[in-house]
Symmetry: C2
């Protein structure tokens, strides 16, 4: 056989195209800054600093199992009971088989994409968007077809005509994150119903990522797509315990749908990967001990943080943002031309009183090239005093950066 | 707009085609049998009954974290150190970035498939095969192209000419499980080198699933594809803690490759899903306390079980199997024409002294329709006395089934 003619094994196209995380890609620069003794405020990643509730942590000390065995593919009876109870309190009654335990919201997204669409199909959504949708779409062989939303509209949903215009014969599902990461927008019931009707009229699935469901400010209410009557065939909800219980690392979530075909397909995918994480499922029911005061306390804390950041950033000349409505992120426009460069500069070339700030450049939250270049995404998962200090750092950084780069516009 | 013309949202083709687990599909019949008071010996699923080692379980009681936060996407430093130390003891030195923490071997398989091949591409492998390869191939949009192996050959690998014949322009990788689930075959070094050379000669990846690496009987040795010199670009190894440490439920594994492009693609997929399970990564380093006597004890136990089953089953008239060499499974040929029917009958219509046996029909371990109809897969994960009793039950069941079905051949 000839060894000269052979081509070496090469990584797949989807492997090559798989995007790097815009949230984490600047991490080496942050590590360098820390080595130089600079304190870095992390506004780049949605890792809450709040404690995982004690009743969940306490469960670990009660585990008597000597064999850490596979759980059922769809979840342990205890975790499924917990999910039924949790949804019941939201007024959403689920039948057995309508909820599937997943390895975080991440796996629920991947299962939903794969069950709703085939390689080559399209996902209709809005941008800016949760950056990891790009990864799961690439893994599933799907294209993201986003309609642009604008800060001036508080990133609320485009009119129905825009959706009709964007639709193609390859569109299989509409994907929305509500409350929204990265914009902090909470869609109204009317917006959700409009999206659901659009889906029903065109035979599309409505994949609703509701992992920030409780994170609502100024007394707002959020509408779960599961609560809408008449859309049982269309709605697939992605859920996670990560943010609700500040338990990102345990990797536990859920996929909820009343469409029996989708539930069946996702259940068979779940059988393929055997089971969701067992220790996580074991501790989850500890959250049943948490009453409304738990959620109230968390919301109050995040609302205060939002206010601190919003008030502080709004006062910096050239910075634009609408008041975020939910979740714990927002997109802010800055007086810069290349926020990737600005974010890197903050870590490499700047310090104010020995401190700097790490932010996520917004370009990674857009699919359309060239968008988001003057925007950053901020996660407010730090204590109020730190946020106040981070605002001071940013307020000092912006004019210094503009001067260094000769920006006068 | 017209609502009569619309087509309802419908599940994807891959969702429809996603196979149900042949290991678990008879579970409702087993539950019914148990309700009737029949004791069911589970020989159908590879859930070891051995204890998860105490040093791992003990780690849970030492966890002081109050925030169960995301770990790095590629794994915690402690878990990665553990993996480097484990491979080091095998004589395999890994550089940083060559090993990635995954959510079980399952996720490592999915990442490997996706990084090595694009939708529409093919995986060349042998059958019978680990049934969940079918699920991950379907999720990744890939076809499985298996070459049949035979019990008479101890399910060892076909000659190179057969591989050459099966190759198509769409083939991107060769997939082998060594030691093998479901056959219990351990490939020789010569077989592994032959497979690796075939891959290198044709520009294919060599995905080697080595999750049963230590499960070797009669003093056999197993060759990791990672130990071969000159195949650094081709080899991608899938690994898992599930069987090695009887910790199937924690969902922790690894993907190991020296191909930087594949490692990069898998790392970006890992960023997309944020992190592997944190509690699992926390307890894993407890296994560093385990010495060679741990592995020795486990192997002795499984070898005894294998001997009990092999000796017992070989004596049943009409049953054929070669002595399994590794892992804790084997494929046995039975004097039946439809092992799906036989396996269901065992649960629904049969009991011997109030006991029956659950086995996995082998048809689900073949891709080619019509194969495996007179075979079953058996997992020996029960205590010796139970296995001895299960053999008695099977020995009574086979003539009773043949009589009930009028089989005389």
């Amino acid at each position: 056989m000839s060894t000269t003619a052979r081509t070496a094994a090469h990584v797949s196209s989807r492997g090559q195209e798989m995007p790097a995380s815009p949230i984490r890609k600047l991490m080496p620069l942050a590590d360098e800054a820390k080595k130089r003794g600079v304190k870095v405020y992390h506004l780049n990643i949605g890792q809450p600093d709040l404690e995982t509730p004690e009743p969940m942590r306490r469960r670990l000390t009660t585990l008597k199992d000597k064999v850490y065995a596979y759980s059922p593919s769809n979840g342990t009876p205890e975790y499924l009971d917990f999910l039924h109870a949790y949804y019941g309190k939201l007024g959403i009654t689920l039948k057995p088989g309508e909820v599937l335990a997943t390895t975080g919201g991440s796996e629920a997204l991947l299962f939903a994409f794969m069950a709703c669409a085939d390689p080559g199909d399209e996902i209709l959504t809005v941008e800016p968007l949760y950056t990891n949708y790009r990864s799961f779409a690439a893994m599933a062989g799907l294209s993201l077809l986003p309609i642009v939303t604008f800060g001036e509209d508080g990133f609320h949903l485009p009119a129905r005509a825009e959706w009709e215009k964007a639709l193609t014969p390859k569109t299989r599902l509409v994907l929305l994150c509500n409350p929204n990461n990265p914009t902090g927008t909470v869609y109204s019931k009317e917006e959700i119903v409009r999206a659901a009707e659009f889906c029903r009229d065109h035979g599309l699935f409505f994949v609703s990522d509701e992992v920030y469901r409780e994170f609502l400010y100024d007394g707002r209410e959020s509408v779960s797509a599961l609560s809408l009557a008449g859309f049982e065939d269309e709605v697939v909800v992605v859920d996670s315990l990560s943010k609700r219980f500040s338990a990102c690392g345990i990797r536990l979530g859920a996929l909820v749908t009343r469409n029996a075909d989708v539930a069946g397909a996702c259940n068979r995918m779940a059988q393929g990967r055997l089971s969701p994480p067992g220790l996580a499922q074991y501790i989850a029911p500890g959250a049943l001990e948490l009453g409304p005061e738990y959620y109230g306390g968390v919301i109050r804390e995040y609302q205060k943080r939002r206010d601190t950041l919003y008030d502080g950033l709004s006062k910096i000349p050239g910075v634009f943002l609408r008041k975020p409505e939910g979740a714990f992120y927002f997109i802010a426009r800055l007086p810069v031309q290349d926020s990737d460069d600005f974010a890197a500069w903050l870590l490499s070339d700047f310090a104010f009183e020995g401190k700097t700030v790490m932010v996520a450049p917004a370009s990674g939250f857009y699919v359309t090239p060239g968008l988001g270049l003057d925007e950053i995404r901020i996660a407010y998962v730090l204590k109020e005093d730190d946020l106040r200090d981070a605002v001071r750092v940013l307020a000092a950084a912006l004019p210094a950066y503009r001067k260094a780069k000769g920006i006068t516009s």
